[in-house]
């Protein structure tokens, strides 16, 4: 194990309780991610990929094991501390875009800056990100006027605008056709190469997975292999 990594996971367990039933979503995951890495994560449905992201991203606490993200130990975090982690340290991108439907693309991005308390500080990163998006002219449209690919690029911009240490993308191309998928994947690649953005991406698509420097295979709540 390399403790210098930006993400260090060891023997991570996650148990969901639904009524009396216990679901073992993660059964001992060990993972180490270096700064600036682009990691693809693949595996069958129900293998615990999303659960791993939710824990690394501070959406849910781990049941057992050690998780450290950018120097923060997640196992001992309170809810408020996890909120802070989501605000400052991680950016999420989801399969379903998850833009706020009543706000324009620009405002969707601005909301993230507002929540992080950055809205009044001019940030060259904001301009750079908007440029990278390649949809500058459509920024004043609401999500339902944008194509899926455009929406997902806006969601990515929103996720990285506060300079998170890591970007977690859960099947970002799952709802996109191949052309739009490629635009999104290129954007992730650019972010990784130009800004050194650490990216973790879950995907079911082998072509998409190939964008990663490494591919992590998950099965039954464990990491089966690296390729």
């Amino acid at each position: 194990m390399n403790d210098d990594g930006i993400i260090t996971v060891s023997d991570l367990h996650k148990v969901y309780r639904v009524g009396k039933i216990e679901v073992q979503a993660l059964r001992g995951v060990d993972l180490n991610v270096d700064r600036g890495e682009f990691l693809s994560i693949v595996g069958p449905s129900g293998s615990g990929k999303s659960t791993l992201f939710h824990i690394i991203g501070g959406l849910t606490p781990p049941s057992a094991g050690r998780v450290s993200v950018d120097g923060h130990d997640l196992a001992s975090m309170t809810g408020a501390e996890r909120t802070r982690l989501r605000k400052k340290t991680v950016g999420f991108v989801f399969q379903r875009f998850n833009l706020l439907p009543n706000l324009t693309a620009r405002d969707n991005i601005a909301v993230a800056r507002h929540i992080a308390g950055m809205d009044n500080k001019p940030d060259p990163r904001f301009a750079e990100v908007l440029e990278l998006l390649g949809i500058a002219r459509r920024l004043d449209h609401k999500p339902n006027a944008l194509s899926g690919g455009e929406q997902q690029r806006v969601a990515i911009a929103r996720a990285v605008v506060n300079r998170p240490a890591i970007l977690l993308a859960d099947e970002p191309t799952g709802n996109l056709d191949s052309e739009n998928s490629e635009a999104v994947l290129e954007l992730l690649k650019d972010l990784n190469e130009e800004f050194g953005q650490t990216v973790l991406m879950i995907t079911h698509n082998p072509d998409a997975a190939a964008y990663g420097h490494q591919v992590v295979h998950m099965r039954d709540g464990r990491i089966a292999e690296f390729t």
Partner: protein, 352 residues
């Protein structure tokens, strides 16, 4: 849609409060204005004059008018006889010449003075309420009266008839309800009252116009304050319930959005703040709509019952109504706001 409905539901109790307040102010101001419209400085009333509004029970002998008119500093005395009809309306019997002298004369918009004993003079508000014009006949007190004239308002009563006729109908021949006195100089009011009290004894209430008008105000109408607070309380409960339901619905509808905000690092307080802010906006919108609707209520009253009911627009109550609504909106936001803040972000994001 949800917001509009909420505005309406919050607006209704606001209108209710403002209308109630407007009615009490309007009725009181109208009463005071009409009393002052007599031009009198002093009012002498019969002993049984039960309340300030309804001068029923007339125990002033008619001879008093002459007697009072001869007192020092008294320029005119005019005796009137009043008969209440549908509250708060009264028919007032007058000696037209005597009353006109005191009040500065009637300003006729239609027709003119009494010509026969069954003639009636009404003001334009009552004319509008009854849809009648000079020359036409109306039924009042189960009697038919010919409208000899329509006057501008503000002169003691909305309805005047010859005093003899009214006394006869009331089987009170020779009696008066009250006598109005006009002095040579209003400065002499207290002197004259003192003098009259000595001469008439304690049986006859003698009031200056100022005393009479100040007797009728929001604070000394029995139960009015309490009633106002009950209506305010109802407003608070309705506002609370509407905001609570409306925002709870909004929170359910926006479960995903709440999840998104949480995934972006929005704290519980941030989410609670959003719900609270929107609730307060609902409260502001509802108050504005309620104020607009109170103008509507005033218009309805103006149009349909201008003589019986007067409603004032009491702008001093707008901030009070706003404060009441905002307080109930903030209370109403609490439960939905806390439940939104406690949403689990993963469940919220998975919500369809």
């Amino acid at each position: 849609m949800r917001s509009l409905l909420s505005f309406l539901l919050i607006g209704v109790p606001v209108t209710l409060i403002l209308t109630l307040v407007g009615l009490t102010h309007g009725m009181i101001e109208d009463f005071q204005e009409r009393q002052r419209g007599t031009g009198a400085d002093i009012v002498v009333r019969g002993t049984n004059a039960a309340s300030a509004i309804t001068f029923s029970g007339s125990t002033l002998p008619e001879g008093f008018t002459g007697f009072l008119g001869k007192q020092p500093h008294v320029e005119y005395a005019a005796g009137v006889f009043t008969h209440p009809i549908e509250l708060p309306l009264t028919v007032t019997g007058i000696d037209l010449n005597q009353f006109a002298k005191m009040s500065g004369g009637f300003n006729y918009t239609e027709g003119g003075p009494f010509q026969g004993s069954r003639d009636m003079i009404i003001d334009r508000y009552y004319a509008a309420q009854r849809h009648v014009h000079a020359g036409e006949s109306i039924q009042v007190m189960n009697q038919s009266w010919r409208i000899s004239g329509v006057i501008d308002g503000g002169k003691l009563s909305h309805i005047f008839v010859p005093i003899r006729e009214l006394q006869k109908l009331d089987s009170s021949t020779g009696k008066l309800s009250q006598v109005f006195l006009k002095l040579d100089d209003p400065k002499n009011t207290s002197t004259v009252i003192k003098d009259l009290k000595q001469k008439l004894g304690p049986d006859y209430p003698i009031l200056s116009m100022e005393e009479l008008t100040s007797m009728v105000n929001v604070n000394n109408i029995a139960g009015l304050k309490e009633f106002t607070w009950v209506v305010v309380g109802i407003g608070v409960v309705i506002g609370f319930a509407v905001v609570c339901l409306s925002m709870y619905m909004a929170v359910l509808q926006r479960t995903r959005e709440i999840g998104i905000l949480k995934s972006l690092g929005g704290s519980d307080q941030f989410i609670l703040g959003i719900v609270l802010l929107e609730s307060l906006l609902l409260g502001v919108g509802g108050t504005v709509l309620g104020i607009l609707m109170s103008f509507g209520a005033k218009w309805l009253i103006r149009t349909f019952v201008p003589a019986s009911i007067q409603m004032a627009i009491v702008a001093e109550w707008w901030p009070i109504a706003l404060a009441i609504t905002l307080a109930s909106a903030a209370l109403g936001a609490l439960y939905p706001g806390l439940s939104a803040a406690r949403h689990d972000p993963i469940d919220a994001l998975a919500y369809e």
